[in-house]
Amino acid sequence: MTDTPAIEISGLVRRFGRRDAVDGLSLRVQPGRCYGFFGRNGAGKTTTIKCLLNLLRPTSGRVRVFGLDPQRDEVEVKSRLSYVPDNVAFYPWMTVSDVLEYVASFRTRWNADTERALLSRFRLDADQKASHLSKGQRTQLALIAAICPEPELLVLDEPTSGLDPIVRREFIQTVIGAYQDGDPGRRTVFVSTHLISEFEGLIDEFTIIDGGRDVLTLEADAARGRFEKPLEEIFVSTLQPTAVPA
């Protein structure tokens, strides 16, 4: 028996005017895996993710999340996943606990123990106004809001860019610790990043996207075995082929 992939993208094209932001991308993420989506700025990572969430409609190609069409089955797809965008914004008048209460009201499940544990781990003050939070604290709050509903799929779009190394480390440990708790076979992570070395240990499998296409998809261990170097260097050498003189 094969499990329904958490994410399945085939031949995805998304055009903006005359520019193809995504140009024939295919990938498949099995449930329970931590999947890295690596690409430079402008490679098409965020556009792809927005197609998964029906924030954008594909120009052509097929996108399935849990085997469902994110456009037709939008509510079911969104109720089973959480998304942390690169730039997190909250209503500025809300406090930390207001934000979490508000988010929880849209969710069928909400793990209050996890909420308490993470608030104290991140030393977030529940009465603090969202508008007074630092960038790092906003990301931490978004991560709590993403993990407490215990979704099957956690979609992270450049979650740690612009954060200091301590916050980045805590972020990753929280994904490993709090998110993967419970039912690890059904806790899938899809993370887009260019901070590859930060996420190296977390990644089971990855796709490198460039110019809107998947240029390399491999298991992390197989990639290190084949190239004998860390994923970040594999990324760099894949995208910077040695120039061959004409």
């Binding site: 610790g177 993967q180 240990g201």
Partner: protein, 134 residues
């Protein structure tokens, strides 16, 4: 037990854990009955995916190095490989062959090779004898 993970070597991360645990057991850093760290704390401290730790522990269990006690964790086993002796000898053959080939190219003869093997056995035995219990 301190685990050191390198992403630079071409070796799969789970195998690095397997080999380091086996080394620790052979050299007395871990003794029969000792508990291995839990999957979650170890994954967090090494910043590794839990799947990787779970895969390493499953491999160690299948090799008869550790036992998994549901709910309690993983413990170093007191000997008792699940394989028969001829199968165990067969498993060792490839590793010995690698060393024999290397010895040939380094012009190390049989006598010196066996002497060195004996010395390494002694070294590990001595380390197991003197390793601090924690």
């Amino acid at each position: 037990m301190r685990l050191q993970i390198s992403f630079k070597s071409g070796k799969p991360v789970y195998l690095q854990i397997v080999d380091q645990v086996k080394l620790a057991v052979a050299s007395g850093g871990l003794r029969a009955g000792d508990a291995l760290p839990g999957i979650r704390p170890l994954a967090e401290s090494l910043r590794l995916n839990r799947n990787t730790i779970a895969k390493a522990y499953a491999e160690l269990e299948s090799q008869g190095v550790i036992d998994t006690n549901a709910g309690k964790g993983c413990f170093v086993k007191d000997g008792g490989s699940p394989y028969r002796k001829d199968a165990r000898l067969e498993m060792l053959k490839d590793e010995i062959d690698t060393a024999v080939v290397q010895a040939h190219h380094l012009q190390i003869g049989r006598a010196d090779f066996l002497k060195l093997a004996g010395a390494r056995f002694d070294a590990f035995e001595q380390q197991r004898g003197t390793a601090p219990q924690d």
